[in-house]
Symmetry: C2
Subunit: 415 residues, 2 copies
């Protein structure tokens, strides 16, 4: 029955994709008439590009999900054994997703303050975490074999440890990280939608593999965890694929913060409902590297310019690293240590020069996009996005390798 | 325990009101900077008024609800008797409300097409209706005693009839009606927020009366139905009161479609979760009259101008009826009948005049606002709103009278 629902879900997703395609074409002139557009900073022409088009796809996504909800529960309707906890899981996930979409759209329209942007996803995930709690879901983690062997002489560790509320803090952090990670790794045509597409397709593949492995026992919790994730991810992947089609070079639409929050929250929600939040982090390797590399600028240890997009050269129609310039004397100690370390391992281009008798530093902006350009040199925007997509796909391969091969080296039990 | 939760809910609502007040002040300049404002057409000055400020209050409302959810369930956490159906009811209501807010905000920003505006609330209420269905809620209606007595000689009617899926169609229509009714009765300072405030306060009072009456048996379904309605309505009333403070004459903010959808959906949701959707309609008497009176213009049986707001006279600082002018020959048959009937019972001012050898008609626009002005004559915008609020309050008194006194004449069983 669950598999039949999955086929229905796939069918509805395909329908959703067609509707997305038509609605996007429909709403492009409306967005422009309402002055909801941005200008592409890496193009010669300054034509308006409608933004945030993500809201259209997000609305279609919600409708597909609303339509779909009855199907997985059809066989239980009217029975005393109705799986309330499962319906609760889906509804709590949808609440978090729909409020994330609302937050994103409000952010696109209003440029919300940072503290409001961090507070809202945390609060909107409360229903999700509460449902996780009352459904008696496990907060137990498995202790890696190697750790147990290492501390064996001093203290006998159990195979599993119940970390209780720390697990909830971890899940809360996953939500905040995911809703912001895609937003931070952005700025060139097709990047936001492309990376989300690769991640959601990879996670779907991971779910399918697990569904196949658990398939022998359709009533097992593990089977349900990956089925529910697919219920959420197939429509998301379908709608995002259409959005990517319009968003890739040369962008006919921009996705907006709406899309980034929607996408991040959807991935966070499925990882929590599906009990694979640690595995999800493996699919976010480029985003994690980008976030860690950005920290000095995000927390102002190193001066941060308004925009950190790559620099466009209209002559050669290529993009190259953008830079930040500042007085060496203004640098904080931590920033100075960071620059020294990164420079020595080749992760940062640093130039010193003198102006008006003072020593200035010029460094590339701290994003993974600029880092790629540092190694690969200036290139066409389209090639740059393809290169970044390739990195994202290689990360997914690495994630599968770690999850299915390496994990068995560290853990006795790997499902 | 439920009553303790209700006190906590009231406390959180008060907190929400304070936050609304501060956030509105905070965001007024941001809305204006982002060009999200309207111009007040009934004022001499043309100062920009931020719109749609309803989205701020709606966001605070959602946060208050997310915070509140754990409290009513605290005593059951970890127990096998956890009331899943009750938590499901709350979550399904919140999904419908949050998608209504999203729809409203998108409508304010994008001027959505009519078919999208009607489709989306219908679909977003699917989870709500599905939860109603799987929770084994009744679709049985009581046959009025008088009807039973009248048809007794011909056919013996039972005391109750299960109308099954017709009940779901009725609930779906309640949702579509409520989400649009407040939007249609709008256009002068404080009207949208004021009418919603009166309705939500009246429904809350109705719930409190019922909670008091059912109070002897806290485990009864009836008790829970009115408690859950209060859980949703107290924060709504608190946030709306603050919004009304800013929205009343002279408006410092406009509420936008966001507010109208949010408000209508919240009221529809509580009436469905609380099983009093028929009673709710009694509190919507002015909106129902306004809708019925508007039908000829909404369905273009009579020509409908772009705006139907009252006409502002800067000389006297008053507003008076606005009118529609059209050739008599262009009138459709149904429209012609409507005009004849309404004119004969004094519900319409009709003037005939000749221009360029053709007979023209001039009628007042078909809204309850213009109807009030027809009877009461031109008046100050502030007085007009007070008069409309008074009508709304009298309707609430009438609703209580019908519900608690008249109903017992028609039904044997009135809870």
């Amino acid at each position: 029955m669950s598999l039949l629902s999955l086929f229905i879900n796939a069918g509805l997703s395909a329908g959703g994709a067609v509707i997305c395609y038509r609605l996007i074409l429909d709403y492009i002139p409306i967005f422009i008439a309402r002055k909801m557009y941005g200008n592409d900073q890496c193009k010669v022409s300054n034509a308006p590009v409608p933004e945030p088009m993500g809201v259209i796809c997000a609305a279609v996504y919600l409708i597909v999900m609303f339509f779909f909800i009855p199907f997985p529960f059809y066989e239980w309707i009217g029975l005393d054994t109705f799986p309330y906890a499962k319906l609760l899981a889906i509804l709590s996930g949808l609440i978090s997703i729909s409020t994330a979409i609302l937050l994103g759209f409000a952010d696109d329209m209003l440029d919300l303050r940072w503290r409001h942007k961090l507070l809202f996803p945390t609060l909107s995930s409360l229903p999700l975490l509460m449902v996780y709690y009352v459904s008696g879901n496990s907060t137990t983690v498995i202790v890696p074999t190697i750790v147990r062997h290492l501390v064996q002489p001093f203290v006998a560790l159990p195979i599993t440890i119940n970390i209780s509320f720390i697990y909830y803090i971890f899940m809360g952090m996953v939500i905040v990280f995911c809703t912001n990670a895609i937003n931070i790794l952005a700025g060139i045509n097709g990047l936001e939608s492309g990376q989300s597409l690769v991640i959601s397709a990879s996670v779907s593949l991971f779910n399918l593999v697990q569904v196949y492995r658990f398939g022998a026992d359709e009533t097992s919790q593990g089977f349900w965890h990956h089925i529910i994730s697919l219920y959420f991810l197939l429509p998301f992947t379908a709608c995002t694929a259409v959005l990517f089609y319009f968003n890739k070079y040369p962008s006919r639409v921009f996705v907006g913060d709406t899309f980034c929050y929607w996408s991040g929250m959807t991935l966070a929600v499925v990882s929590i409902l599906g009990h694979f939040s640690k595995t999800l982090m493996l699919f976010f390797i480029p985003q994690t590297i980008n976030f860690v590399y950005s920290i000095p600028q995000l927390f102002h240890l190193v001066p941060c310019p308004r925009h950190r997009l790559p620099k466009y050269d209209p002559e050669s129609d290529t993009v190259s690293m953008s830079v930040a310039e500042f007085k060496k004397s203004e640098l904080k100690t931590l920033g100075s240590i960071f620059i020294t370390v990164c420079r020595s391992i080749g992760m940062l281009r640093v130039e010193e020069f003198e102006k008006d008798g003072e020593i200035y530093l010029r460094i590339n902006n701290l994003t993974i996009i600029n880092l790629v350009l540092k190694f690969a040199g200036p290139m066409h925007e389209s090639s740059l996005n393809q290169l970044l997509m390739l990195i994202q796909m290689l990360s997914s391969c690495l994630a599968f390798f770690i999850r299915f091969y390496l994990a068995s080296l560290f853990y006795d039990i790997v499902e």
